[in-house]
Amino acid sequence: PNVKLVTSDNEEFVVDFRIAKMSVTVSRLMEAMNMSETDDASLLSNSIPLPNVTKAVMARVIEWCEKHKNDEPKEEKENDKRGRTTHVVSDWDKEFLKNDEFGRLCQLMGAANYLEIKGLFNDISQTIANMIHGKKSDEIAEMFNIHCDLTEAEKKEIRKKTAWCED
């Protein structure tokens, strides 16, 4: 069975029920609208409005969901402060996100958050952390559109207080 999703710019996406269920937000809306997998009529007569997602972003989200629709559900307790390790971004996901500059990633991250697709959200936040990894401060500033307001003397002081600490 298929589910109709309508974006903020009125684009309709018809997606597999399994893909729709990957979003906690869409799942809840379907429940509220009494749409069920076994009731084709309810799926055909309703569409899910997603006013916070544009068609361009939705297309990317669906592409990610298509790839991950058969993944085993991961039991990651959000507030469980113990025993959690770094999120590992799979090779496919790295490839999927590699050409997105920071602004695009933010839009995608916003959609993943609104749609409550935890795997995609974690992928993006880890990708942003990976983008920072190993870069120099001026490279990071350029990537994030940040104007450096530290004076050279201040930078020197910060370096002085931390440089001797590292192994």
Partner: protein, 354 residues
């Protein structure tokens, strides 16, 4: 147009096949200039938790806002860590977070009160809180890594498990007091000296208790023995026990096995004791050096007996309750050769799936 028409059919077939694939990615997200700090706070916090320590240092040099963000943000999750006097250079402090590729080790701080203060300042600039999964090792010291110093450093930490290596009564006292600060944490206590039996018996329940007594000089070490009363007190109390110099009889080995099986919280027991006690216990159950792997002796099955008779693995199943455990006995020479020497008896249960 003309060019396309002259192309070979194979290419056209391929081109037609890739068209729908391209169509999927045509809807491109518009490029927007985005300032990192325009992200919702919750997003920033999530990203910050994933940034490695070294990168956090670089971020501090990017701008004032990042400088304060780094110090106010959660540092994420590290798998293990340690704070102790540096073993390679005893004039330095050793502090480490994590044991994977993202691990960070700091060995530049002097092993002095001033060095601890500098370390504290440094950590405060790097994160507000951090969570340590796995085991974080703490080694107290009477002068520098005192309870007060370690408390200051670990104030903003969340621990899954702390391992204390303790060499004196005062260090033991500090460890017990620090445990009060982290009531939901699991503990491993490694006693490298021998406290009084009263002190040992009143220790709170630990995930692991090791009594090694390495610091004691040989003669004193040989004199120290954990008698059967103290052993049975500890056996019912701690999840995993590892004890040197336990003095129990062959009959007490049976008693220990039954207590071990029936205490659901106890997972493993490893004790070193005189071979004479182990050999006599094995003989009571008709297990001798003539047995071979696969032999069944009452409730015991011999899983493996090494050619040198230095290692013996048994499977035990209680005839009524059907509870089972693995038993591993190891010695530095044939178990049956020198009954006055020591051997290690280890009992272990399977972890039950929760």
């Amino acid at each position: 147009m003309g060019i396309i028409l002259t192309l070979p059919n194979t290419f056209l077939d391929h081109f037609v096949r890739i068209l729908p694939m391209r169509k999927k990615t045509i809807a491109e997200i518009p490029i927007t200039k985005m300032d990192f700090f325009a992200l919702p706070e919750a997003f920033i916090a999530r990203v910050m938790r994933r940034i490695e320590i070294r990168d956090r240092l670089t971020l501090r040099l990017t701008c004032r806002e990042f400088e304060s963000l780094v110090s106010e943000a959660h540092a994420g999750y590290f798998d293990g860590g340690k704070i102790a006097r540096n073993k390679r250079d005893k004039t330095k402090l050793f502090i480490a977070f994590g044991d994977s590729h993202s691990a960070a080790r700091f060995t530049g701080f002097e092993f002095t009160e001033e060095g601890v203060e500098q370390c504290l300042y440094f950590l405060q600039k790097l994160f507000s809180t951090t969570s340590i999964s796995g085991t974080f090792e703490i080694e107290f010291d009477e002068k520098v890594l005192t309870l007060d110093a370690v408390r200051k450093i670990t104030k903003s930490f969340e621990f899954e498990r702390i391992e204390f290596s303790v060499n004196s009564d005062s260090q033991l006292e500090s460890s017990l007091l620090l445990m009060d600060d982290f009531p939901n944490t699991k503990y491993i206590l490694v006693l490298r000296y021998i406290p009084s039996p009263e002190k040992i018996s009143t220790l709170p329940s630990m995930e692991e208790l090791h009594i090694r007594g390495e610091k004691t000089i040989d003669d004193e070490h040989n004199k120290f023995e954990i008698d059967s009363d103290l052993f049975f007190t500890l056996l019912g109390k701690h999840d995993n026990l590892c004890l040197d110099n336990v003095q129990i009889s062959a009959d007490n080995c049976d008693k220990a096995l039954q207590i071990f099986l029936n205490e659901s919280s106890v997972h493993s027991v490893e004790i070193s004791l005189k071979r004479s006690a182990i050999v006599s216990w094995l003989r009571n159950h008709k297990i001798t050096e003539d047995n071979e792997s696969g032999d069944v002796c009452g409730e015991f099955t011999i899983a493996h007996i090494s050619v040198s008779c230095m290692h013996l693995r048994l499977e035990y199943t209680h005839h009524i309750s059907k509870k089972t455990c693995h038993i591993h006995i190891r010695a530095t020479s044939s178990l049956w050769s020198d009954e006055n020497a020591r051997a290690v008896l280890c009992m272990e249960k399977e972890y039950e799936d929760v």
